[in-house]
Symmetry: C2
């Protein structure tokens, strides 16, 4: 199966601690890297991860709070010093370009590559990236400022041809793509050979949903239904639910409720408030509702 990995670079929240870095994740999908959020210190975490800088082409920023984007200028600047030439694409709220350009013009003069901003509208779920094998769609969330999560979804793969059956029926080459894509084969004599005799099903397409930062928002359940892996923020424990409401964050129990109701494969929680010295209580609360829950931690890599 092709690679589909989620690397956690940082899973703390607004106040940085010595235990958790600011938010950033990198997906490795078939050796293309996609970054989600880029808090301060992300470039050092990226170096630590040993992921190849040059394979990172697209960065997705969920919202413009500092702990999700203060690392961009350092990363952009370092890529320049490393003589990057490939364009770097940043998908973000429309305001970010106006904030970053003056910094780039001052600090990153003469960079050998371009940064291209792709503003998205934070209010509607929209397709913001597509290539041959996958799509990225925004997941509008509810936070103190316009915020989107991101849904990474593989495209369905063509079926695998059964070489033995192709040979058995002597099917000509020109039919191969049609059969891969599901057509039945019709012989010159008009005999119909059902597609399922000629192929085995492809691996089912995988999907990853990233939802941070957000208050408890049941309407996202529909959009993320059945994803293989869900990252959902769990800034607070239930006892701090009032604080969660006030700051428009979620509790661990709320994250697990979303995971359960969406029937996801696995849940990973993070974006821990600095007030907790460890995350055991967050994990227990979530697992009570959705047992297949795991804690995010720096340098964790999860394969889908």
């Amino acid at each position: 199966m092709e690679k589909f990995e989620v690397n956690i670079l940082g899973c703390g929240s607004a106040l940085p601690t010595t235990r958790h870095q600011a938010t950033s994740q990198v997906l490795n999908i078939r050796e293309k890297l996609f970054m989600i959020d880029c808090g301060e210190g992300t470039q050092v975490q990226l170096r630590r991860s040993k992921l190849k800088f040059s394979r990172l082409g697209h960065i997705f920023i969920s919202h413009l709070h500092g702990d999700h984007c203060f690392g961009l200028i350092g990363l952009i600047s370092t890529f320049g010093m490393l003589e990057r030439t490939a364009d770097l694409h940043i998908h973000c709220h429309p305001d970010l370009e106006g904030l970053l350009r003056p910094q780039m013009n001052y600090f990153c003069k003469g960079m050998p590559y371009s940064v291209i901003f792709h503003p998205y509208s934070p209010n509607t779920a929209s397709l913001i990236y597509e290539d041959r094998s996958m799509t990225v769609t925004t997941i509008p969330l509810r936070h103190r400022m316009p915020t989107c999560g991101f849904l990474f979804r593989e495209k369905p793969l063509p079926n695998h041809l059964r070489r033995d059956m192709i040979d058995f029926y002597g099917i000509p080459i020109c039919w191969m793509n049609r059969i891969k894509n599901g057509e039945d084969y019709v012989t010159d004599e008009g005999e119909v050979i059902a597609n399922e005799r000629l192929t085995t099903p492809a691996d089912p397409p995988r999907a990853y949903a990233y939802c941070s930062d957000t208050s408890f928002l049941p309407r996202i359940v529909e959009q993320i239904q059945g994803v293989d892996l869900l990252f959902h923020e769990a800034t607070f424990v239930e006892a701090d639910a009032a604080r969660a409401r006030q700051t428009q964050h979620s509790t661990a129990g709320q994250a697990a409720t979303i995971a359960r109701d969406a029937g996801v494969g696995r849940l990973i929680i993070g974006h821990y408030s600095a007030r907790y010295n460890d995350e055991t209580e967050l994990l227990q609360e979530a697992q009570a509702i959705f047992p297949r829950t795991q804690l995010a931690q720096e340098n964790l890599c999860i394969e889908l």
Copy 2:
């Protein structure tokens, strides 16, 4: 003796590594904290140092390369979240305010404290800070953009009164300050008691000079003559002297030459290029010229 400490938060150079943080130092002078430079990740290093955030009132930025200032916005933002109310003063090149204000206006709305910029002219040595016990003067350096080092110097302290002698001569209270400040005592009968019979000398004032980033610049020797501790950048080994010239940095040997010629007490070197996997060669080159050399490293604290 009153506290005068240099805390190294980061001593790497432009390209961050997993071994060294971007540049930042914090001086603790009589429990007032002064930060010099603020590269990305400084706020986490500051937290790690266990120095009290609230005692930091002044930040001195040597120049506007990212590895010396990208950590400011995160630090400023975090101080806001921590409900700081005291003004924060930033001494820097005049361009910095125009770069940071738009970021602060967007990311740090409603902060309960003010950031006050104090631009200095990078071309002339100038007094940029003074309080009852110390001064800070810029040290103009030569780098790819306007850059200054900083000279932190204690003011001379008054002599200590010898209580036994004061009692012996029955000297009235009104004379105390005059005697502390060096005057002889004259009795009502006109007898002159020499000051040195009445006092013991105060501790000599201490001085710390910070010189980064700079090409080899012998003219600074005069300004930093005899300081107790000199931090001088040593980005390269002698074998890479051509690269040092080209990028307007110094070699370890050049740093040591400055230290020797200025007759400083001790030298600490840092701002290591990412190309070296350890700093042994830098240290050896410097010590061959100036034996009282030490390597900077993260979380090192040096007392003067």
